[in-house]
């Protein structure tokens, strides 16, 4: 089964178009503060797309993804004195969070559905408590300062340059995830999400499929965490909190977890709404909650549904329809 060159190319073009084009516009017109906020948004996009491998692709909702995001952040923060280049730092962050995800993944393998969400939440809180009580990890103040280490030998501490570092990491992650999404592995995950019993009857070991997507989601979360510690300049316990785990699930569902780009759209809208509400009112929670309520009730499959309603062209049932259109 040779993979046609056209497929690689089409995926690369799509990812570049969807990521690099808007990034170029942002970099051109955004103010210094705007660039900082957008860098945070892009990091949330990476975190959300990683989490969606679990929540959207495999249909297993974990309420403890902040534990891996925080592991990546603290891994980078702990190595802050060693002046390692970013290529090494981020790889170590990914490895650290992948190992933690593997361990907890094996432990929580048997739990399914809501119980999986509950046990991952409890483990997430345990990790939060361990870090918070630990003096070596800076307890409530966290570990600081975390400098933005060099990329390919270049200094990237300037906010706009760091924005492009984060955007290029997103491009790579999005490309890899896009390939996986359209690979046979991606199809087996979609099958498991749809009907685990049927998937087993075809001989596919769903325990392994779940574990691999769990570790994959954890690793990408760790990568985002590693970048976030450099963006913020420190690693703090709030990066491991239950609130963050809840928000990232919210973002995946908000954007539309059955769409490849859904999580990214969710991250943009959620952060954009929270940012503007915070500066406009003193009751952000109230308005943010109301907005989420409307979306949850009115749009079962998230914002992606909004896009379908605005698509005027009638979609023909093309023979090789991409799973995106199908899985609305």
């Amino acid at each position: 089964m040779t993979v046609t060159r056209a497929a690689w190319l089409r995926q690369a073009v799509e990812v570049c178009l969807v990521v690099l084009l808007p990034a170029a516009i942002i970099s051109a017109i955004a103010t210094d503060l705007g660039i900082y906020v957008w860098t945070t948004v892009v990091i949330y996009i990476i975190f959300a797309m990683g989490t969606n491998v679990l929540v959207g692709w495999s249909g297993a909702t974990s309420f403890g993804q902040a534990a891996y995001f925080g592991t990546g952040a603290y891994a980078v923060a702990l190595l802050r004195e060693r002046e390692l280049p970013n290529e090494v730092l981020l790889v170590l962050a990914v490895l650290a969070s992948a190992v933690v995800a593997l361990t907890l993944g094996i432990l929580t393998l048997r739990a399914v559905g809501l119980r999986f969400g509950i046990i991952t939440l409890v483990f997430g809180q345990l990790i939060y408590l361990v870090v918070f009580r630990n003096d070596g990890l800076g307890s409530e103040t966290g570990l600081y300062p975390v400098a933005r280490s060099t990329v390919l030998g270049q200094d990237v501490s300037d906010q706009r340059t760091f924005f492009w570092v984060v955007v290029s990491v997103l491009t790579i992650v999005a490309f890899v995830l896009r390939r996986m999404y359209q690979s046979s592995f991606g199809l087996t995950l979609a099958a498991m999400r749809d009907d685990p019993l049927r998937t087993v009857a075809l001989g596919l070991p769903i325990r392994w499929l779940r574990l691999i997507s769990f570790v994959l989601a954890g690793a990408v979360a760790g990568l985002a965490g590693g970048l976030f510690a450099q963006q913020q300049g420190s690693a703090s316990p709030s990066m491991l909190s239950f609130a963050l785990s809840g928000h990232i699930i919210l973002i995946c569902l908000l954007g539309g977890r059955f769409r490849f780009w859904g999580a990214a759209a969710g991250a943009i809208v959620f952060t954009w709404a929270e940012y503007h509400l915070r500066s406009l009112t003193d009751a952000t929670d109230l308005y943010l909650g109301a907005l989420l309520l409307v979306i949850v009730i009115a749009m079962p499959d998230g914002l992606a549904k909004l896009w379908d309603l605005t698509t005027v062209a009638l979609r023909s049932r093309s023979r090789t329809s991409d799973r995106d259109e199908v899985s609305v």
Binding site: T4, S183, S184, A190, L197, R198, A201, L202, R323
Partner: protein
């Protein structure tokens, strides 16, 4: 007697005090179709469950291609070439018919599915799936979401998936249940065509429509209260007094 492809010897299965199967033995040779008939509660579905690895036999053994698969879980049994359909058809409703078959093809090729291939532009995969759909008469439904397929088409899709999986032993659990006469006849024709295309395919089929059994089965087993009562050619079993007693309930008069 050619060597048996699938052999169950004195298989018993009880759920607590309920003895669903007691001391059932049967063999299917390559290329043979064995019909299993019996009233509701005879243990047909439990027998299927034990053979397919869904339930663990309380005692006795199951051998596939000479390998003892007793107690193997469902996915391992499926991997060793035993495909099945469900009484209530189970398909991936959110995927298209073609994609349903592609999942089976992927399961046949790799243990987990490779991360580096690309399905949306894989001509070989698409044509293989199309061929299988054509074989079960669903060629036109390739791009349709499985959720929109009727009961009968879903059963045919399950058949295509089992074949895609590379099964050489097929367990058909009441394939014509809930079907109209026309649909049932279509399915029988499809299974008969399969026998000509894949002569070595062994099929175990259960059904309530006697004509389906008569049309398909080379040999028939009558199951009642979890035990084998009669074995023989369809005609022998049909005319056997035991069959008449169990089905027509003479002894109740």
């Amino acid at each position: 007697m050619t060597t048996a492809v699938l052999e169950a010897t004195s298989v018993s299965k009880s759920f607590g005090q309920v003895h669903a199967l007691s001391d059932v033995s049967l063999q299917i040779a390559a290329g043979e179709t064995l019909g299993v008939i019996g009233p509701n509660g005879a243990g047909k579905s439990t027998l299927f469950g034990v053979l397919a690895g869904e339930h663990r036999a309380s005692s006795g053994s199951v051998v596939l291609h000479g390998r003892d698969i007793t107690g193997w879980n469902a996915s391992r049994v499926a991997r060793s070439g035993l495909g099945r359909t469900f009484q209530v058809p189970r398909v991936f409703t959110r995927l298209t018919a073609a994609q349903n078959v592609e999942v089976a093809l992927v399961a046949a090729r790799h243990r987990l599915g490779r991360m580096t291939d690309n399905l949306t532009h894989d001509r070989a995969m698409e044509s293989a799936a199309a061929a299988l759909l054509d074989r079960v008469g669903l060629a036109s439904a390739a791009g349709i979401e499985a959720a929109h397929l009727g009961q009968g088409d879903r059963k045919l899709l399950e058949l295509a998936m089992a074949l895609g999986r590379g099964a050489h032993v097929l367990l058909l659990d009441e394939p014509t249940a809930g079907m109209g006469r026309g649909e049932a006849r279509r399915l029988v024709e499809v299974v008969q065509d399969l026998r000509t295309v894949q002569p070595e395919l062994a099929v175990l089929v259960t059904a309530h429509h006697m004509e389906v059994i008569l049309a398909l089965a080379d040999r028939v087993v009558l199951l009642a209260d979890g035990a084998v009562r009669v074995v023989g050619t369809p005609q022998d079993v049909a005319e056997h007094p035991e069959t008449r007693r169990i089905y027509l309930g003479e002894d109740l008069l």
